[in-house]
């Protein structure tokens, strides 16, 4: 592989990896605080993409209850992105209230919470389908305003063009990761969250409103899912109501690779899977989707706690 192609694939991998990282961060936040995988995360990802699309004034097709409807205002992409992700965050809070809280109150088996979050995922995906149909929606071409379509990193005879959207995604990811790291390590919110993640009962005895931090975590987590969904949607297109399910499974690979509940793990895992996928040779590109799962499978067998995870403690 010559250097030009290598660089190009490397930058592609970074861009895909940043979306995986943003998405996986949300996944891992909920895991770190509740010890449960929220399977509705992928559905919220899809929903975020639809919200952002609608806020930009995108029209819905002929199927579904909202056929041909559109929001009267057309917001610029950056504003729609933040509003859309916030709406996704609120849906995440709703999911917590409906599918997680009642089970927590009853001290149910964590397995049941996994199932109820799966139920929420099925419901959300089908509500989307009911409202806007199963078509593919493409973000408006002027999504990124007057930015050039592609930026060339090479020289005139050795061109390495990178799409602007890929750079936007990468920049957003770096900003989000820095912001979240600051939030968790240096703010009161972050300290309290860490305490709840460590031991919910003790922290509530110490006067931390556990419930409030769980809700906040769900909001942040789902905000990140919505953001990731909108970014993927703007870079490719929204591929229907089940768009996020496959992404959600890949997100699982990312967080297990990095170590469940680990924030640096989710970021590193995201970039690793993104880069590995980018370097799958063209002849085998059909198998690209299996690569992440193969890595996941091997990782589980060799080091189940992941790269940054804590060793699982055996309770006797």
């Amino acid at each position: 592989m010559d250097l030009t192609l290598f660089l190009q694939q490397f930058l592609n991998g970074l861009s895909i990896g940043s979306v995986y990282a943003i998405f996986a961060l949300g996944y891992t936040l909920v895991f770190s605080i509740l010890g449960i995988i929220n399977f509705a995360h992928g559905a919220v990802f899809t929903l975020g993409a639809y919200f952002t699309y609608a806020l930009m004034g995108g029209a819905f097709g002929f199927n579904g209850l909202l056929a041909n409807a559109r929001i009267p205002v057309q917001l610029p992409f950056a504003v729609a992105l933040i509003l859309g992700s916030t709406l996704a965050g609120l849906v995440g809070v709703m999911v917590e209230r409906v599918a997680f809280l009642p089970l927590r109150r009853r001290n149910s088996d964590p397995l049941l919470t996994v199932v109820s979050s799966l139920g929420a995922a099925v419901a959300i995906a089908n509500i989307i389908q009911y409202l806007v149909g199963a078509e593919i929606y493409t973000f408006p071409a002027n999504t990124y305003g007057n930015l050039p379509a592609a930026i060339n990193f090479g020289t005139a005879d050795q061109q390495i063009p990178i799409r602007t959207v890929q750079i936007v995604i990468f920049v957003v990811a770096v900003a989000i990761v820095s912001l979240l790291t600051y939030l968790i390590n240096f703010t009161k919110f972050g300290k309290a969250m860490q305490a709840v993640a460590e031991d919910a009962t003790t922290s509530s005895l110490l006067g931390i409103d556990t419930d409030r931090y769980i809700v906040l975590t769900f909001f942040v987590s789902s905000f990140l899912a919505g953001l990731a969904g909108s970014l993927v949607g703007s870079s490719v297109s929204i591929a229907g109501p089940y768009f996020g399910i496959a992404f959600g499974l890949k997100g699982l690979a990312v967080i297990v690779l990095g170590g469940l509940g680990s924030i640096p793990g989710a970021v590193l895992g995201g970039f690793m899977i993104g880069l590995v996928e980018a370097f799958v040779p063209g002849d085998f590109s059909a198998y690209k989707d299996a690569v992440a799962f193969a890595i996941l499978f091997v990782m589980l067998l060799v080091r189940p706690q992941g790269l940054f995870g804590r060793r699982l403690i055996e309770k006797v």
Binding site: I36, I37, V98, A99, P102, L103, R106, S108, D109, P110, L111, L112, T113, V114, V115, S116, L118, G119, A120, A121, V122, A123, I124, A125, N126, I127, Q129, Y130, I245, L249, L252, A253, V256, L260, A286, Y287, D289, A290, F293, A294, L296, F297, L300, L301, P304, L312, E314, V316
Partner: protein
């Protein structure tokens, strides 16, 4: 009665197949292992039957001979069982959510392979799988005995040494190990039995559905069967059988309800197009209000004692 069976034949047979898939998920759960691998073995069994019947056992005209179907079922069960041991031995060192994730990865790898290999027909899949029966309801001849045999085996299994060992491991693996039960052996055994059952059911389903592709046996299917087992009741096989039937029938029942005369238009439309929303919400509500599932061992005991206790 005759028209009833011809109208609902497809649904009835699907329900019994769903019950068996529920059982295939229940088996590893007997040792406390949350495995979502069943759809993978189901897909594998289906591909084995589809490939064998359209290439190796090719027939010209007439119905597909039953003995050949049985041969396919045995091969599908054997191959699934072997793969079950191969995957199970390393994977069952994992517990809880980690095992669930490993089995999801296994199913996804199988799905991508079946989408891209020539022998599985790629994305299109395999068409025109020959039929051993003339009508869907005739499949009861093979599906009903299969279900009864599986239920009889499970009934026995819950009462003999092996089943007791399963229950002990489920209750406390370390304690079971300490009193001389080999957890690895029994966990792989339960996992493999589930794999065999799923493979055999897949072989029958491929003929029943006439076509087989990568959409069969995906992660979604795993969710539906996990739901049916946990909401039906995961402490006794009866719960899995009932859950499997109910959750296979539910979408169709809702679709049927949409055609009831006199319903408001919006409600009929919702029952028809939004039935999977109801399905999803039922899963959430079910796990909250029936954490033990609908059928529990206590409930069965009460039924068995019957009038004596109710007086």
């Amino acid at each position: 009665m005759g028209t009833f069976f011809t109208t609902y034949g497809f649904l009835i047979v699907s329900m019994l197949l769903g019950a068996m898939l529920g059982l295939s998920l229940y088996l590893p759960l007997m040792t406390g292992q949350l495995s979502l691998a069943s759809p993978g073995f189901y897909a594998l069994g289906g591909y084995i039957a589809a490939i064998l019947s359209t290439t190796v056992f090719q027939q010209t005209g007439g119905l597909f001979p039953l003995p050949l179907l049985l041969v396919e079922m045995i091969i599908a069960g054997a191959v699934s069982g072997l793969l079950g041991i191969l995957v199970g031995v390393p994977a069952l060192r994992l517990r809880g959510i980690y095992l669930a994730i490993a089995t999801i990865a296994f199913v996804e790898i199988l799905r991508v392979l079946s989408l891209n290999l020539d022998i599985t027909g790629g994305a299109v899949g395999i068409f025109g799988i020959p039929q051993p029966f003339g009508t869907p309801i005739d499949y009861l001849w093979i599906v009903l005995p299969l279900l009864l045999v599986s239920m009889a085996i499970l009934y026995r299994l819950e009462r003999i040494r092996v089943g007791r060992a399963f229950a002990a491991i489920r209750a406390d693996e370390l304690a079971a190990d300490a009193i001389g039960i080999n957890p690895t052996f029994y966990k792989v055994l339960a996992f493999t039995l589930g794999a065999i059952l799923a493979g055999v059911v897949g072989a029958v389903s491929a003929h029943f559905l006439n076509t087989w592709n990568a959409r069969q046996g995906t992660f979604d299917a795993g969710i539906i069967y996990l739901t049916s087992v946990l909401i039906g009741g995961s402490r006794t096989f009866v719960g899995s059988v009932l859950g499997g039937m109910v959750f296979t029938a539910l979408p169709e029942v809702l679709r049927g309800m949409a055609t009831i005369q006199g319903l408001p238009v919006w409600l009929a439309q919702f029952l028809r197009d939004g039935r999977l929303i109801i399905f999803g919400l039922l899963i959430v509500v079910g796990t909250i209000f029936f954490p033990q599932g609908l059928v529990t061992p206590e409930l069965l005991k009460r039924w068995r004692k019957g009038d004596r206790t109710s007086v």
